[in-house]
């Protein structure tokens, strides 16, 4: 990065001579270095999966979750700086509450992600630092089907069919592209997501890792839920067997 040391990269309020805002790019780095997170929209639902590092056995089960409910139907998954992500979750949640108060109905997923994106964007203008977190938002209902959004540290907010962020995102995207995701229901997606996360791990570096997942779809009646631990464990077992099988064929 030739920008380092030029002095154009010390504040979000400074453009570099070639029109870049380095502080936003550096904040993005916090996400790029985090555990891989993938999200996939399938036939009748959306699944998110994240690889978490558990550094000590002194943690309680599922301490520091990455998957949250914003309301009954909208789910959020965060990757990057955890306290920043927790703060964004709190903001999203507050917006959903305001919406429920004003309109007396739950806030739709596109409104949630849009509102979070606007908020994140303000932090790219200077004074404070940008958020070091990206956040997926997902939902499913009969009228719209599955929807999946990603808000990035720059304040960008795009809708996706599927996407990957974090450490091994490139490998994950390549794996996702091999799937016919439009034909998979959320049960299949959970298995495939586990397979992808496990297959792209760096066996030497990614130790003491644990997969956390969230799903929403027809089978959950449009309610976003953290996938139960036994379901994740079964998916991992399936994934490991499948990966061993693939190795044999090679």
């Amino acid at each position: 990065m030739s920008s380092i040391g030029t002095g154009y990269d010390l504040a979000a309020s400074t453009f570099s001579p070639d029109g870049r805002i380095f502080q936003v790019e550096y904040a993005q780095k916090a996400v790029d270095n985090a555990g891989t997170m993938i999200a996939i929209r399938g036939k009748n639902g959306v699944v998110m999966a994240v690889d978490k590092v558990i550094t000590s056995k002194l943690y309680t089960d599922n301490a520091n979750p990455r998957i949250f409910n914003i309301n009954d139907s909208v789910g959020m998954g965060i990757a990057g700086n955890y306290p920043d992500g927790f703060n964004l979750k709190n903001y999203a949640y507050g917006e959903a509450m305001k919406w429920l108060k004003d309109y007396r109905e739950p806030m739709p997923v596109n409104k949630v992600s849009n509102s979070v994106a606007e908020y994140v964007h303000i932090f790219t203008l200077g004074i404070s630092r940008p958020y070091g977190t990206s956040a997926f938002f997902g939902s499913w209902n009969k009228q719209e089907g599955g929807r999946l959004f990603l808000v990035e540290p720059s304040g960008l907010n795009y809708e996706y069919k599927a996407w990957a962020i974090g450490k091994h995102r490139q490998a994950a995207k390549a794996e996702i592209e091999k799937l016919k995701i439009d034909t998979l229901d959320i049960q299949d997606l959970v298995k495939e997501a586990a397979r992808i996360i496990i297959s792209i791990r760096d066996e030497n570096k990614d130790k003491n890792v644990q997969i956390e997942m969230g799903w929403v779809g027809e089978q959950t009646n449009g309610k976003y839920e953290t996938v139960p631990e036994d379901v994740v464990a079964a998916a991992e077992e399936w994934a490991n067997a499948k990966l061993d099988e693939d190795d044999m064929e090679d």
């Binding site: 409910n69 309301n71 949640y93 509450m97 429920l100 007396r104």
Partner: protein, 237 residues
């Protein structure tokens, strides 16, 4: 008298109202009875409207007084439920009763009270996933924020008419009352409101919260009563 310029006059009357709520504890839960009419003054303006709101599996809130105020409160309660879910808890009747007490009291202190009497009924879980320690709960909050906890209650005009009758029945068996016995007492009590309260209706429902079954909303029922005594009333035509 014309209002002075810096005076502010609040609404002095509710508009669309519900009448009495009668509630009673039994051995493992609470039964709550309300009629299903909305009055506009003394006119029976709408029929088939429930005054019982299921908060979650442990709590049922019923009300007397203004329907619009309560519809607003439903939204407040809905948001409270979400707030508690955020740290993986279902709000219990004790906490909701406490919260609504604070809310109604704050409103009356601002000289802008909510026109409701609330009955928060439910079972309070003392420990998570241990039904053995769950206890029935009935909490009342008046329009002025006066709050208390009881084992049985009648609100509205029922407070003047029924509390003694309900208490007499409750005292016969106390905490050992079965659900069927408690419901029988409520029905008898409703019959009394029907005779004396001109805005009470004979279409009603009995909801319940049971430690084992959770909240079970009641079906619509009708009571006729015995009107033969009316013949001896000298004003009766």
């Amino acid at each position: 008298m014309a209002p002075v310029h810096d005076e502010l006059q609040r609404t002095l009357n509710p508009t669309c109202t519900g009448a009495s709520v009668i509630a009673m504890q039994y051995k493992t839960g609470v039964v709550v009875m309300t009629d299903r009419v909305v009055s506009y003054g003394k006119m029976a303006r709408y029929k088939n409207v429930s005054r019982q709101y299921k908060v979650n599996d442990n709590v049922l809130v019923t009300f007397g007084g203004d329907h619009a105020d309560f519809q607003w409160l439903q939204n407040v309660i809905e948001r409270q439920v979400l707030l508690w879910k955020r740290f993986d808890q279902d709000i219990g009747p004790k906490a909701l009763h406490g919260y609504l007490t604070s809310l109604l009291y704050a409103r009356r202190c601002k000289m802008n009270p909510l026109w409701n009497t609330l009955v928060v009924a439910g079972v309070e879980e003392e420990e998570k996933n241990n039904k053995e320690t769950s206890t029935p709960f009935i909490g009342i909050i008046t329009q002025k924020g006066c709050a208390y906890q009881v084992k049985h209650v009648a609100t509205g005009l029922g407070a003047f008419l029924l509390n003694q009758a309900v208490e007499d029945e409750f005292r016969k068996k106390g905490d050992e009352l079965t659900r069927q016995e408690a419901e029988a007492v409520l029905k008898k009590a409703l019959e009394l409101t029907l005779y004396h309260d001109c805005v009470a209706d004979n279409d009603f429902e009995i909801g319940r919260v049971d430690a084992n079954e959770g909240v079970v909303l009641g079906k619509e029922q009708t009571i006729i009563g015995d009107w033969s005594i009316a013949e001896t009333n000298c004003q009766y035509e």
